[in-house]
Amino acid sequence: MIFWVWVFGLIYAGLLVFASLKSYKKNRSSEEFMMAGSNIGLTLGVLTFAAALFSTFTFLGMPDFFRINGVGAWIFLAVSDGAMVFLLLWFGYHIRNKVKGMEFRGVSGLITRCYENKLAGYVFFLSAFLFLIPYVGIQIQGIAIFMDAAFPGSFPAWGWSAGIVLIMLVYSEIGGLKAIIFSDAIQGLLLLAVIWIIGWACLNHFGGIGPMFDKIGTVQEDLLSTPGPQGLLTPQFLIASLIAILMIPVTQPQFTTRIVVMKSMKTMQLMAVSLGAFAILVILPTIFIGMYGADLYSEYGRDEFFANAFLYDQPDAVAALAIIGLIAAGLSTTNAQIFALGSELRGLLRGNESSIMRNTKIGIFVFSVIAFFFSIIVFDQLVLLARVSFAGTGIMGPMIILGILSDRKVSPAIIYLSLVGLIVFLSSLAGFIPDMYFGLRLDLLLFIILGLVAVISHLTGKKLQLISPEKDQ
């Protein structure tokens, strides 16, 4: 296997170097570095959005989620992604119209301008920081665990994590957002190819889709329906997850940036459709891998399942591809997230352009170091931590949508309430307060309350009226 890892690894590294150098320009402006010149075409757009969205969370997390919770996992992610691409069409149109003719400096900068209130930007940045960093950390950890299983004893897990962070920093520093987008395109295609090769091998283990579910029915019948053996996938959990995932393009800055940097409105819209098709294609084989795990490794822990299904049970070349595919999946998402945090920081900084750029780069470095430390200390199920990340940033959704869509002078109450919502959600995660109230999940309750506040704020907002020339006279 080592031979194949070297072969695929060198090809992959070569492509990354090519992407970085192709994007490198001396004396580039900060706009070119941070926003890739806002001129991204359809194919690159789809692949970069997909690579940023489908990470180790999809590659490793979803097979594990199917293995433990059964077929309802499709509704958790695929149906939610289908709805998200429709929302992307609607929200993308509005945010692109909003930033037309102005320089986009991240959601924090935009939302500060919309509310004419700096606190709005700071609250958004805080939520992005708090919920993206642990998510980045656990993805780096996922790759490190996998590498440790592939090459036991060669490096400590933190060594692999440090290497990943270093690669990420180097090529984003050389090429900026454009290099990240080029490498995302490579990584998106690689992820799709690898997940299908392994998925297909797992399906062949059963001899087809029908026999696969027949076999699973005899192993653990609960996996074939909701809420699954652990009772997790209840309608309420799935609805709250749908809302959290719907809010991804609105509240996760790496996606909002990608919507804005698309070449035209039409390209952005076609990107949404293609992304929906891509989502189905990527999630489908994770069912096969999950069912394979349920059949053979139902009693195993997460790490043993990954190591067996992706490495030991596969031919050497496929196992090597899985390693490279996983690195690609993790790297593309983590660097998109870290870079987006840098972009958000840039939107909040004041001063001359060169000092803003310098501080942004320092910020990206600091975020990477914090994510590295998280990768060593955090331990959780990939999917559930990702879901917490989506829900945590999703709390900011009503504030952002109201700021962008409302044509009225709205009350700043939504900003303060979003901050309170964030603190309440964090308190429940820390175990200080319960996570269920009146039979409702706290995240769902927060979405409902903040959504209602946003609607009321809009309805009671003061209409902005232009003074007509007649009245003026």
Partner: protein, 75 residues
């Protein structure tokens, strides 16, 4: 333009309807895996169809979204 607006609204209503439908016992009857379709459990094949329909609706949305008209006029 008015027609496009109407079609777009129909798309939005259909997307919301599909999302709501997903969380009813019609798609996720608790603990029931039948009737199967080509061996696929009930909740999986019904939710798969819903996912495909949402993507199709998104495609139709790109054709009827009233904003596209505005952009063409801008150009």
């Amino acid at each position: 333009m008015e027609k496009k607006r109407l079609y777009w609204r129909i798309c939005c209503i259909a997307a919301i309807f599909l999302c709501i439908l997903t969380f009813t016992p019609l798609v996720i009857p608790q603990g029931i895996a039948t009737p199967e379709l080509a061996g696929v459990p009930y909740s999986l094949w019904t939710s798969f169809i819903i996912t495909v329909l949402l993507v199709v609706l998104t495609y139709i949305g790109t054709r009827v979204h009233p904003g596209m008209q505005n952009e063409e006029e801008d150009v």
